[in-house]
Amino acid sequence: MKQLRKAIRVCALILAVMMLLPMGYGAYSLIRYGTRWRTSEYNTYLTSMKSGVAAGSIYDRNGVLLAFTEVTAAEDGALSAKRVYAENANVRKAVAHAVGNTRGTVKNAVESFMAEYLYGANMGYLERLSQSRGGMLRGDDVTLTLDSGLSAYIASVFPADKTGAAVVMNYRTGELYALLSFPSFDPAASGAVTVSQALNRATRWLSAPGSTFKIVTLSAALQSIQGAEERTFTCTGGVSFGEHQRTVTDYGSAVHGSLTLKRAFTQSCNSTFAILASEMGDKALRRTAADFGIGDDFTFRDLVVENSAFANSDSPLLGADLAWTGAGQNELSLTPLHMCMIAAAVANDGVMMEPRLLLRAVGASGAERAAFEPLVYRTALSAADAATVREYMREVVKSGTGRSAAVEGLTVCAKTGTAEIDTQQKDNAWFVGFIDDEALPFALCVVVQNSGTGGSVAAPIAQKIFRYIGGK
């Protein structure tokens, strides 16, 4: 009996702990995924929650009204609510993907993802009671980190007939100043919106980032290959790898000859980065990529970003596959926003900030529901390595492929990319960069699909944006 009693005690303990596990896991998921589930398109409760509530207004960081609800009373006294978007059509179209509309055309845009605030889900009982006397309940007003003027300007300089995306963020705080996707649509117009127009390419479009990824390969080389900075490489326009002698070629079969690591970076020499990638091996490159958040399950508070991937599987890449990955091709898939975060991390001494969209949410009674605070997402690389990469990126604008992004009086650092996509006639032009200046801590990413090289197509657009930001 004594042994039996001991065993019963053990059983009781195990059973009790076992029963607590599901709820523990439930609490974890509720914290991590609660907002995503609540704002999911499958949630029918949202519709019932929305009825009887006039959604709060949405402002940009300068107080420009982006959306508000117009409540009108019919003759019989019945109230009806109508959502009205920004007055200026250019602004309306520029922020359409970030703000979205009440029909949920753009998935997980502010209009649906911040429904909790806009429809006043956190309203207290007394507040509800005192408000309901006036007719319709009013949700919280939301102020976004976006700058509608900057957004409209970017839309005006982006090639009108092209698809792509542009992201501008403050690399010290993570505030998103612009989040654009092209082509856009007008939320005020009643016409149908195409699938292409509804897609937010800044956050949901995954693609190979081309040579802009060399920022990551360079960081990995600084970490894992000793004396990489002092070495000289020889570029003959291509390198062959593996049994089948598949070749990594340089863009336009350019032959860069003998060059240092810095020069290889500024000239965006594929051969050199292919050699670096195969020298350090899959493990080292994968680890640094993971440090930059590639492969993470992104659960940011304010927005939904598609997860980036290093490769389609976890099995180690070999030969030409690994070499091409080092040059930013192969199976790499990142969003423009994530690429912007990578450049921002380099600018911010290696610390990657969480991208934020919400500046504050204020209830109709004046109660503050949420206020912005900068959040560190992860440390991508050491401050020393970040300084080296920054110096290399500065050189790209001074003497390399990013010369057409240079702005007089601003310390612009950048990396261009030209991603080759098999199914497209032309390449995707990528550009990531930032201003190395404490007064103007901005990083950006511009992608123009099916257009040409990063240096010739994306860099001039970035230059205009930098000029606008710097007031030059």
Partner: protein, 429 residues
Amino acid sequence: MNIALKAQKRKRHDLQRLLTGTVMLLIFAGFALLFARKPSPQTALMALAVPCAAGAVTAILPRLFPMDRLLLNLINFLCALGVLMQYRYNPGRGVAQCFNYCAGLVAMIACALAVRHIKNWRLLTLPIMAGCCGMMALPFVFRAANRNLGATAWVAFGSFRMQPSEIVKIAFLLVMAHLLSRRKVVLALGFTGAMLGFLVLQRDLGTAAIYGGTAMVLLYAATSSVLLILGILGAGVGAVAVLYALFKNTYFLTVQNRISNWLDPFATYDQLGGGYQIVQGLIAMANGGWWGTGLGLGNASVIPEYQNDFIFATIMNEFGFIFACAVLLVYVLIVLRAADIALRSTSAFHALLAIGSAALLAVQTFIILGGITKFIPMTGVTVPFLSYGGTSLVSCMGIMGLIQGVASRNERILHEDQRLAEGEGGADA
């Protein structure tokens, strides 16, 4: 009995009365809220009748024969909460659940009395085992009752439907406790194997997991042998592997389906038999948040089986996650109390019976809560005491009756010992 002991007992009774009062108040408040939203005479009647019934049961039953008041209070709370939730979405079902509760009460008393009074289980074991096998084979006879269902687990007589595997749970516990108290480990293993075989054939994997988990706990309690448990686990994995190889493309398609629904229910949302139910359950949980939408304000009825397997999601939706955690703690408390009763019992059979019953309820709660919160793959089993349905409630109350029977027997033996001790003391004086 000395005076100090009596005072202590009275104090404990006062605490129990407080608990009963709290349960009554809570349930009354729930129905009153429903009444305030939509007044009807029936709701008013329920608001008075359900708390009064709960109070009356806790006041009267322990006077008939000694039983554990705490357990009675806790299951009354759960059952009344179940009735409230059923009534909130479907008044007819709420009323029906009251009758189910009455049937459950009868089952509980019957089981408790049986455990209290029957001494010679040895003679009964073999007939019970045969009866178990017969019951488990029944659903295969009633083909029509199981059409269009995932499992072949039902038996129907006219409009009356039941799942034999629910009722067999009670017999299973009795048989296992008896066999293991007499150290007949091989026979116990064989019996468990037979039951699992029937359940796998019925395609009722959730219930199979309940039987298997309970048997495992009982085996460990009886033998204290970790090796045996590891061996059984290994054999189980081996058996599943063999079955998988044999029925990869038939039987295991459903299993694979469930696993992919578990890994990413949103991906299979639109498929037939896909993640729809799990996704809506998770959304109901998220809509409720920490504090719930409020009773009568949620919309958990979009979840298929919201009144049965997903009743906990319904509670999380309207009462919130914090309240749901408190409800879970009630279950944990029931299990710990049952373990306490097992520890107090004087015979191996009764100790094993109590801990086995606790294990069965615990495993069942774990399986369904794990499924709802996406902790483990979803297998449809009912939530003890809360889910709608007569068989489930009768079975759970019957199992509770087994625990109550052991508690009652403990009490009687304690009394007899005390009387003996007092008698001896009297002789000394």
